[in-house]
């Protein structure tokens, strides 16, 4: 028998729920859960009561009824006789269109401005500082309104292009016409059309487009395989074989072959009567929104890029020069991979911001998701709750998809820690 008393498990007392660390966590969680459920119950109860008082129900049948309104800019076939559902999809596609275009141009503008802001050219660095500070400190709505006003107020009407001595001239080798209602841009036409693939819902994709996409993907895969082979060769012999002529041929030759096979020609917009025909007339609402979003987000991306490049310590590039790497190789092998690690996470949130900010299309009258499902459809059917729930759900899914896709990319460039 030893004299040590085994510490007895203390009997449970109710105060231990509050004072004992082991139980306190459960108590807090139960309280939080009850409070949140009570709040949810209260909100949902109120909603049900309010809806029944108004004689409304909660269903999405209205989505299949006739929409009855026109959308000026559509990517898939749409008429006023289409359903509200289709209008919502058209709006979603329009949102995606401006978001994708905006992300691309904003990245280009932002990277250029960010790098130029770091350049040792005093004048250009100051100019870029002014650009960044101006756009970051003034509301986006103002930039959208200003760019839209520039387009609608300062540009000539289409008829200014007519006549023997026109008041306005087309730009970029007579291929683009800026007018106060739309921007006429050239399109491509096929001389030997081979029909198109119907993927349902009235959407068709030209075989030429499909062929181009397939060939491009194959070329990229081949280019990668070539790179792997070159690396293996380099590891084996120490000499990297010259690959760029083969790579260039991989990309250029099939594309030229397709060009000849399909007989692709550029159709320039020409003035017919009062309007341009031949090309595509892109509504100014889209062009203005796109430009304003790109310029605004570009200013933020410029700061991100600058911070990323500054975050790579100078010793890294000096060490790389000391190893005898060229300026270009130093940039691509040493500085950029490290800078990207700092740049990408905030860049993702800028892309997300741009996508969500595209809902400001409401200011220019561009028919995006907010304007179709959350605007005209909502007003016509009086289904506020359903439209808003659906719209917010779509935006939510959209941003979750973007952020998870970009996070995958981020995981690939992340620092591999041991």
């Amino acid at each position: 028998m030893s004299d040590f008393a085994v510490p007895a498990h203390p009997p449970f007392r109710p105060m231990m729920l509050i004072n004992d660390r082991r139980y306190r966590g459960y108590t807090i969680q139960v309280v939080v859960f009850i409070l949140i459920m009570a709040a949810a119950w209260w909100l949902i109860g109120n909603t049900i009561e309010n809806l029944s008082r108004l004689g409304k129900d909660f269903n999405f049948d209205f989505l299949w009824k006739r929409a009855g309104y026109d959308i000026p800019q559509v990517l898939i076939p749409y008429t006023a006789d289409s359903s509200h559902m289709r209008a919502a999809v058209v709006g979603l596609l329009n949102t995606l269109l401006v978001a994708v275009l905006g992300c691309i141009t904003a990245t280009i503008i932002g990277v250029t401005a960010g790098v130029l802001r770091l350049s040792n050219n005093w004048l250009v660095a100051r100019l870029m500082t002014i650009y960044v500070e101006l756009f970051r400190n003034i509301p986006l709505l103002l930039w959208i309104l200003v760019v839209y006003a520039v387009f609608t107020e300062s540009l000539p009407a289409p008829r200014a292009y007519s006549g023997a001595d026109p008041a306005a001239h087309m730009i970029l080798f007579d291929s683009i016409a800026l007018t106060n209602r739309y921007t006429a841009i050239p399109t491509l036409n096929l001389l030997h059309s081979h029909g198109s693939l119907n993927i349902g819902w009235g959407v068709t994709i030209n075989w030429a487009t499909i062929a181009y996409i397939v060939v491009l993907v194959l070329a990229i895969l081949a280019h990668r395989a070539l790179g792997r082979w070159a690396r293996a060769r380099q590891n084996l012999t120490g000499v990297r074989p010259r690959t760029w002529p083969i790579s260039a041929a991989l990309f250029v030759l099939p594309l030229v072959a397709l060009w000849l096979y399909f007989g692709i020609e550029v159709v320039r917009p020409t003035l017919k009567g009062f309007n341009f025909a031949g090309g595509v007339n892109v509504h100014n609402a889209l062009v203005a929104l796109w430009l304003a979003l790109s310029l605004y987000t570009g200013a933020f991306i410029a700061e991100i890029v600058r911070a990323g490049v500054l975050a790579v310590s100078k010793g890294q590039s000096e060490a790389s020069y000391a190893l005898g790497l060229s300026r270009r190789r130093t940039m691509s092998l040493v500085v950029l991979p490290q800078a990207l690690r700092v740049i990408i996470p905030p860049l993702i949130s800028q892309f997300l911001n741009l996508t969500k900010n595209s809902s400001l299309a409401i200011a220019t009258g561009y028919m995006d998701l907010k304007a179709t499902l959350g605007g005209t459809t909502l007003n016509q059917t009086g289904r506020e709750l359903e439209s808003m729930v659906l719209m917010m759900g779509i935006y939510l899914v959209l941003s979750l998809i973007i952020s998870s896709a970009m996070n995958l990319f981020n995981a690939r460039v992340r620092l591999r820690e041991r």
Binding site: V32, N46, N120, N121, L140, L142, V146, K356
Partner: protein
């Protein structure tokens, strides 16, 4: 061998030569130009491109600015003056619009004889902020309070404020200045009281309702102190319950009775007369003030060990961040009545403030979470080893450091939120950017003025946001502890 240094060092200089100026070819404007503008082909090309851009911008905008007109009654008159002075066919800026309609941009439809009230509220805002923003520098505080007092009284006088409020404001400002000089900690009491004072000055009505609301915080604090000895968790829950009970049952019962006893009411101003920068600043300041504490709580909840608390925080933050602010504003204007008990109808500005606060708080929570994650683990362990409980550890050790790290992010969230206040135009509020410009342009006299209203509001937004970002840089410098 150990004496090797003494043998190898032959001579050591023991005096410094005076610094000499660099040779002529190593300094001077020509060298600066050569190094910064013309150091290589690429650099020269960039310089020329930059000069071309500047030339293009200046040559297209300068004539318009140079032909500005400040005194006219309509756009037509403006154009007439420009044509008469600078010749036919020239265009110019018509700032007469701003001169005539500035009040609409600043105050919206706020009754003109009460304009002094928002001005006083704005002046007091600096009194309330001074002890928080400039806590350790008496010199800066003195200047801020001095300038705020002089400007507030002067502008109030210029806007035709009656003598009584003018005297009161001057007296309170003097008191604040004295407190800031001799008892700075007491100035924090004014900060605490400011929300009630600001709301009362802006919306008017009875002073008793804001007082009773503020008393609720006092009740909560008293309950917390009373229960603190038993258990901190119980104290927090008790304090919240007491405050809610006070606002829910006792307040509505108390206010009418107090009103009957002593009448402290001033002219009530309805929310739909708010507009312009008054609206933006009201929404912005209240959103900023409320989103910071909410963001801290959300960030702590998201880093909590309790899976349920963490789960709810993650859901809330991700939902808010995944949805555009416009959608939330439309929820506030269209749907909030569905979610509340039938017959409730509360102020649209309040609804918008709530939505903007929730929106900013979700972003703030992520910024602060970054700050919390950046703290070394040793700080948490040190707090534990000192035997501090959760709240004490957060309050004394973790949060001060985490918030310091996240200052740039917090301020840029504030700036973003302030800029986003312009979106309230889409739910029918009278913002300075779109609604005001549209309504000014709708009048016959100013139809066709596009750039002047935009430039005017843009400049004011720029000054405010740029000022905020510079302040955050100053704060970062001041709080920098490492060398």
């Amino acid at each position: 061998m150990s004496e090797i240094h003494a043998q190898t060092v032959q001579y050591v200089r023991d005096t410094m030569l005076p610094p000499a100026p660099p040779p002529n070819r190593q300094s001077g404007p020509v060298l600066w130009l050569r190094e910064n503008l013309f150091s290589g082909p690429l650099n020269i090309a960039l310089t020329l491109l930059g000069l071309a851009a500047i030339w293009y911008l200046v040559s297209s905008i300068w004539p318009w600015i140079a032909h500005s007109v400040w005194h006219a009654n309509s756009l037509k008159e403006c154009r007439g003056i420009i044509a008469a002075t600078f010749g036919e066919g020239t265009t110019g800026a018509c700032w007469a619009l701003v001169r005539e309609r500035w009040s609409q941009f600043v105050f919206g439809f706020y009754p003109s004889h009460l304009w002094w009230r928002p001005v006083a509220a704005f002046g007091f805002l600096f009194v309330a902020l001074a002890p928080v923003l400039f806590s350790d520098s008496r010199g800066i505080r003195r200047w801020v309070l001095f300038l705020a007092a002089i400007l507030t009284v002067w502008i109030m006088d210029a806007l035709g404020a009656p003598t009584a409020p003018l005297t009161w404001v001057a007296a309170i400002m003097m008191l604040a200045w004295l407190l800031s000089e001799f008892r700075p900690s007491l100035l924090l009491v004014m900060t605490g009281l400011y929300p009630a004072l600001g709301v009362w000055l802006l919306w008017g009505g009875s002073l008793w309702s804001p007082i009773v609301v503020m008393l609720g915080f006092g009740v909560a604090y008293a309950v917390y102190r009373a229960l603190e000895r038993t258990s901190s968790l119980l104290a927090v829950v008790g304090a919240i319950a007491a405050a809610v009970a006070w606002w829910w049952w006792i307040g509505p019962w108390l206010v009418p009775r107090l009103n009957q006893t002593v009448d402290l009411a001033i002219t009530r101003v309805a929310s739909d007369s708010f507009g312009g920068f008054l609206l933006s600043i009201t929404i912005g300041v209240s959103g900023i003030a409320m989103s910071l504490p909410l963001g801290i709580i959300l960030a702590l909840a998201r880093r909590s060990d309790l899976p349920l608390v963490k789960g709810f925080a993650v859901m809330f933050i991700e939902f808010i961040r995944g949805v555009p602010l416009i959608a939330l504003l439309f929820v506030a204007s269209l749907l909030l009545n569905y979610f509340l008990p039938p017959g409730t109808n509360f102020d649209i500005i309040l609804r918008v403030i709530i939505m903007v606060t929730l929106f900013a708080a979700a972003y703030m929570a992520e910024v602060i979470r970054g700050g919390l994650a950046a703290l070394p683990k040793g700080q948490y362990e040190a707090a534990d080893s000192l035997g501090l409980d959760y709240w004490k550890a957060q309050r004394l050790i973790i949060l001060p450091q985490a918030l310091k790290i996240s200052i740039p992010g917090i301020v840029s969230t504030f700036i973003g939120m302030f800029k986003d206040t312009t979106l309230v135009t889409f739910v029918g509020l009278y913002d300075p950017l779109k609604a005001t410009a549209d309504s000014v342009r709708a009048s016959v006299a100013w139809k066709g003025t596009y750039w002047e209203p935009y430039i005017f509001t843009g400049a004011i937004f720029f000054i405010l946001c740029f000022g905020m970002s510079r302040y955050s840089m100053y704060l970062e410098q001041r709080l920098k502890r490492e060398n």
